[in-house]
């Protein structure tokens, strides 16, 4: 079983269903749209900010504000790409065609990840430039220190969010269950844990909290995270690796 055969097959699968197009376009549109809106609002409010807030003003990070909502569409993409196989019964046909389950799983994830990376990077760069345009005189330049890393990091962040969702969906198999756990986790629980001081120490190690560090250029004044941008990204990558290993072990052991 050549891996290239599986990659070609998975590419045909991914491009031939409607959910791929609408989830990824939604991620792009929401992230860019919301980023522009919040950038424009921030520009208008800049003069009313405290000195402390002005010091830690991070125009790059502000243009990525739409990511908190846009990542939900990435989660839906990641979940559907895997759990579609289970909800439709296609998984039996797929595994009969490719009985090497590791090749099947990682072929599928590789194709979906590659697509996410392209969409994520396009989203991230467009968001940055349009967001900076909205910020006017407060804007950051792509050549400023740490900015290019943050912009590329935005694309990588979206990619890892989708990969994490693929791993979780592969373990849980049901799209509803996967979305029911992942959506509130990333939209609510992680934010609450990360912002309440009592739980912040734990919250900062959650995948999105740690991973989003890579999009920051200016460190917030009250930031106590014991890791830098790449450190945080590494923590997120560990979460992803854990989810994918779990997915592989379960797929290998379970009856289809």
């Amino acid at each position: 079983m050549a891996a290239t055969q599986v990659i070609r097959s998975e590419w045909t699968k991914i491009r031939s269903v409607a959910s791929t197009v609408w989830t990824l376009s939604l991620a792009l549109v929401v992230t860019i749209g919301l980023g522009m809106l919040i950038s424009a609002l921030s520009k208008n409010q800049f003069n009313d900010m405290s000195e402390k807030d002005k010091l830690s003003f991070d125009p790059t990070f502000i243009s990525f504000a739409g990511m908190s909502l846009g990542q939900l569409a990435m989660i839906v993409f990641g979940v559907l790409v895997v759990s579609n196989e289970y909800s439709t019964g296609m998984i039996r046909t797929s595994l009969a065609a490719v009985p090497q389950r590791g090749t099947f799983l990682f072929g599928k994830i590789a194709v979906a990840t590659g697509l996410c990376l392209v969409v994520g990077l396009v989203t991230s760069f467009v968001t940055f430039f349009l967001g900076q345009a909205m910020l006017g005189s407060h804007r950051a330049e792509i050549g400023d220190s740490g900015v290019l890393r943050a912009v590329i990091g935005g694309g990588l962040y979206m990619t890892l969010i989708a990969m994490f969702s693929m791993g979780v969906a592969s373990m849980l198999r049901s799209p509803m269950l996967s979305l029911g756990i992942l959506m509130p986790f990333f939209f609510l629980i992680s934010n609450i844990l990360g912002n309440v001081s009592a739980t912040k120490k734990i919250g900062q190690y959650l995948p999105d909290q740690a991973g989003s560090k890579i999009m920051q250029v200016v460190t917030p004044v009250d930031d106590s995270a014991p890791y830098g941008p790449w450190g945080g990204f590494g923590i997120m990558a560990l979460w992803v690796a854990a989810a994918l290993i779990g997915a592989y072990v379960l797929l290998k052991r379970r009856d289809a």
Binding site: M1, A2, Q5, V6, R8, S9, E10, T12, K13, S16, V17, A18, S19, N84, E85, T88, G89, M90, I91, R92, T93, S94, L95, A96, A97, V98, P99, Q100, R253, D255, A256
Partner: protein, 325 residues
């Protein structure tokens, strides 16, 4: 050639498939028969490496399924016609399967043509009728031009035209020297297509025999007699050494008897006969008797369908088994 060796599947303490050993040979249609819940689908999933056996082994042309390189070129299977993404077109469904096994795109067009779906190739599968879905599933099985084909209940829910088409397809595939393994819970269906029978009940092997042998062994023939001179005829037959069974409602039955002999005896003694007819128990009845003990889900019915009278020690009504559960 598919070989099963002591194949067993347990879910908790429930045994779904119990120590199955048999071989499916090329060039003939092998019917895999059993009541609902007998373990047919589980067995087929294990053959395809989808479910892991608790014990035992399945080999496809001597190899384990997951050792096959491009398995669709060895064995094509229709397990569940709905095992596909409804949002994908028929063409793309087959294309992704073909690509995963290095099968050229042109073959996709060929199999679509074979099953008669060329006109709807670009249509999404969710709009397909059951029969069209079944045809698409069969196209997927034929994709790799495999030497072994496996169909799980292929005629379920099909119209007569579709059933006729599938029957002929299976026969022609076997005639080309391929191994054809097809499951069903209908004996009547198997009688029309299968050359060899494997019967299971509650996961156990009940029969592994040629269709001809099964018919010979299980279709009991007897002669039914009605006469106003019942007592005298009984005496005459008794003296002639013919065993008679009284089967209620005034008829007599002679197992394996020759109607000529009985007719001549009656004529010699000037006995009037109202009926003298050779009877044949149907295969469906033979199958129900064979599996009666192992039927998992019985319908409760006040009057079990009457069966022809079997020799007393084997006599068993359909539905007796549930009391034992």
């Amino acid at each position: 050639m598919i070989e099963l060796e002591g194949l067993t599947k347990r879910y908790g303490d429930k045994v779904a498939v119990n120590n199955l050993t048999f071989a499916v040979r090329p060039g003939i249609v092998t019917g895999f028969l059993g009541p609902n819940g007998a373990g047919k689908s589980t067995t087929m999933r294990m053959m395809l490496g989808l479910d892991r056996p608790t014990a035992g082994d399945v080999r496809i042309d001597g190899q384990h399924y997951d050792q096959l390189k491009d398995p669709l070129k060895y064995i094509g299977a229709l397990l569940d016609a709905k095992a596909m993404h409804g949002g994908r077109s028929a063409f793309n469904h087959l294309l992704c399967l073909a690509q995963s096994n290095g099968i050229p795109n042109s073959r996709v067009h060929e199999v679509l043509d074979t099953v008669g779906l060329t006109a709807v190739a670009k249509k999404k599968a969710k709009g397909f009728s059951l029969g069209m879905g079944q045809r698409l599933g069969i196209a997927g099985a034929l994709l790799g031009d495999p030497r072994i084909l496996m169909f799980d209940e292929p005629v379920n829910g099909l119209d007569p035209e579709g059933i006729h088409w599938i029957r002929n397809l299976m026969k022609s595939l076997a005639a080309q020297g391929r191994t054809v393994f097809v499951s069903s819970h209908l004996m009547s269906e198997m009688a029309l297509t299968a050359d060899h029978l494997v019967v299971i009940g509650q996961g156990r092997l009940l029969a592994d025999t040629s269709m001809a042998d099964f018919i010979q062994q299980n279709s009991r023939s007897y002669v039914r007699i009605r006469t106003p001179h019942r007592e005298r005829l009984l005496d005459v037959l008794h003296q002639a050494g013919v065993t008679v069974v009284e089967s209620g409602n005034g008829t007599l039955e002679v197992d394996g008897g020759k109607s000529e002999q009985i007719g001549e005896l009656a004529a010699q003694h000037q006995l009037v006969l109202h009926e003298l007819s050779p009877q044949q128990a149907s295969l469906e009845e033979a199958f129900m008797q064979l599996t009666a003990e192992s039927v998992e889900y019985h319908a409760h019915s006040d009057a079990p369908p009457s069966l022809p009278v079997a020799p007393a020690e084997q006599r068993q009504g359909w539905g007796d088994g549930w009391k034992k559960d």
